[in-house]
């Protein structure tokens, strides 16, 4: 056996445990989700093949799936623009290292340290019509007849749920800030020497150079909207009616009703949507092209 073949054998051997773990915890479960999406399975008896019945039920039983896709598109748009935009803005501000920037960075991190479920409960109180700080503040500044049941009226519920995550953009901020700090100083010095203004440096140098970080931020943010669950289930539960449903709630319903086939069909759609987002954002931000 040649030396190269022996080396390759050792490499394969050392990679084997990782591949086994990856297969056990990723490939096999995903394959199970996909395959059982075509079955009727209550978790107690063996799955029974039913073809596309679960997908037909998902798409057509009522308008819940259409509402879920609508909400997902809107939340993705808000996430990709306002949420990521806010995080990027904060990153650019922190990059200038104003007075107290480390404190601001630390404080900005706090909401993301708190569990989403805890935040959902906090927001439920904050948006309460009687005792919540939001409505009392609005009534305090002169709108005495302001009464909105945020999580129980349409379209207020959609906006209330959006607010539970909209400004918590610390991950985007940190990724973008990290890339900003990695830009060589010489690039900026050269630009200033050529007479570039601060805005021109930001617009024509910094922004293009953090393109990949922003793209990553958009991917993280949009895929989080696909998987978003606690913020909805613990506040509006998808209501009023089905106004704030998303696909993860449909998946959850399948689980609690012991319709695992239906739940896995919803899960398959979530996986496919996630892959679609990844491909689209990669292309949009040209993330496979060299930055320098």
């Amino acid at each position: 056996m040649t030396r190269k073949r022996i080396t390759n054998l050792w490499i394969a051997l050392f990679l084997l445990p990782t591949i086994i773990v990856l297969a056990m915890f990723y490939v096999v479960p995903i394959a199970t989700v996909f395959i059982t999406g075509f079955t009727q399975w209550n978790g107690f008896n063996a799955p029974q093949f039913v073809g596309l019945e679960n997908y037909i039920k998902l798409f057509t039983y009522d308008n819940t799936f259409a509402v879920s896709i609508r909400n997902l598109l809107l939340w993705s748009l808000i996430a990709g623009t306002i949420h990521v935009g806010f995080g990027t803005l904060v990153a650019f501000i922190l990059y200038k290292r104003p007075r107290g920037w480390k404190v601001v960075r630390g404080v900005f991190m706090i909401p993301n340290v708190i569990a989403a479920a805890a935040w959902a409960i906090i927001y439920k109180f904050m948006f309460n019509d009687d005792i919540g700080v939001i409505n009392n503040l609005i009534r305090g500044i002169g709108f005495e007849n302001f009464h909105v049941k945020w999580f129980y009226e349409s379209p207020a519920a959609f906006f209330a749920i959006t607010f539970t995550w909209l400004f918590f953009a610390v991950y985007v901020c940190l990724i973008v800030l990290n890339d900003l700090m990695a830009i060589p100083k010489e690039v900026h010095e050269a630009a200033y020497l050529d007479g570039a203004t601060e805005w021109q440096v930001t617009r024509f140098i910094n922004l293009p150079l953090v393109r990949n970080a922003i793209g990553t931020g958009v991917i993280l943010s949009v895929t989080s909207r696909i998987a978003m669950f606690e913020e909805i289930q613990l506040t509006s539960r998808g209501g009023p009616g089905n106004e704030t449903y998303n696909i993860s709630l449909m998946l959850y319903e399948g689980i609690v009703n012991y319709e695992y086939g239906y739940a896995n069909a919803a899960g398959t759609i979530m996986i496919l949507l996630g892959i679609l987002v990844l491909v689209l954002i990669n292309r949009l931000f040209k993330m496979n092209e060299r930055v320098y």
């Binding site: 209550n42 009687d130 129980y152 009226e153 998808g238 209501g239 009023p240 009616g241 089905n242 009703n257």
Partner: protein
Amino acid sequence: MKKWLTVTSALAIVSSLLLTACGSGAATNPDQQAGGETAQKEVVLKIPHYKTGQNVGAKYFMGLVERFNAAYDGQYEVVVEEVPQDDYAEKIKLLYQQKKLPPIIETGDKQFLEDVVIKNGAFYDLKPWIDSKPELKSVMIEESIEHNTTEDGKIFSLPMAVIRPIGMFYNKDMFEKAGITKSIGQMSTDEFVQALDALKASGVAPLTLMTGENAWTTMLLASAFMANEPGGPEILNSTEWDYDYTSEPWVNTFAKLQTFLQQYTTNNAVGAAYADAANNFLNERTATIANGTWMISDFSDPAKSSEGFNQKVGADLYPGGVAVATTYDYLWWIPSGLPEEQTQGALAFLEFMYTPKELETYMVLEGGNAPKLQTSEEFESQLDPILAEFNEAVTNDLKVTVQSFENIWPPQIPSEFGKYLPLLADGTLTPEQFAQELTSKAAQFKK
């Protein structure tokens, strides 16, 4: 040589790491799987339950456990694991999947019980045990024995001995201030609405409604009003699931419900959970609440209501002489496949629960009546005055008993009912549209 030694060591480390990661599911002691440990003498029955802590049922249930443990000291001990009420049914399903069911279970998800437990015969047949205990069988209600008997003659769960009609509580002071003198149970529905207007005019919110969770108090009141609709009692007393809510009795009831939500309840009814609703009545923000007699203990609980509040509370039937109750329910059951000592312990617990003294204790604390039990002389004197008032109303004014919506809806629908109620309340949905939405939802679960 050195190279081989290095490689062999590396492989050994990796293999042991993998084996450790994969070997965490070691079999447990089968006694522990069944929910108990076998000490030398005492059999421990570990059961999850929600009637603990601040739950309304805790006073009776935890007292029952304490008394059983005292009576069977050294032989059996029931240990309760606290579980939130909303999670109890799911916990039981999970334990079933894990083959770790506790020795005694109170109901659970009705559809799961019928479609899985009864269908797969995963329960202990209580018939031979009941037949061997004539004094036990003598207190059981016949219709309940029939309902709990499977097609092949086995008895799945403990038949009921006590029926607990549900009515409503009212604040006597508020009623007096509003000039209402007639008993609620003797009123027609129109008279009741007039009473609501009088209460509203006197400055109080007449009804305690809620849309959160399963919209319990709202559902009870709506069930009672449907009982006053032509054809309503027949629909409500069905023994089959109902999947269609577009008929006239339903739509008329939803129309009344819309009016109640819009005009006769508190601002925070939309979105309110049971705790919020109970708080409204206990803190005298509302004049009435539809709820069962198990709530009576809250009226004298200093942690929940002001001193002397229980003196202000009266209990009555719903308008039209309606009470909400069912004998078509499952209660306690024992899973099959348990170790013999666990099964015997579970049977001892059920038998203890149905002794005349315990049944009386249950009725004193939670209300209801045991039609086949000869109560003791002290029983009546032990009754809370509010409970005694309600029992009197049941005796004198009861005209019709109906089940509540949740007894005839698929288990998923009460939650959907609560989610769609805000849209009914704010007028986004008409009663007809509301009925149609619920019917569409129910169609998904039709077998």
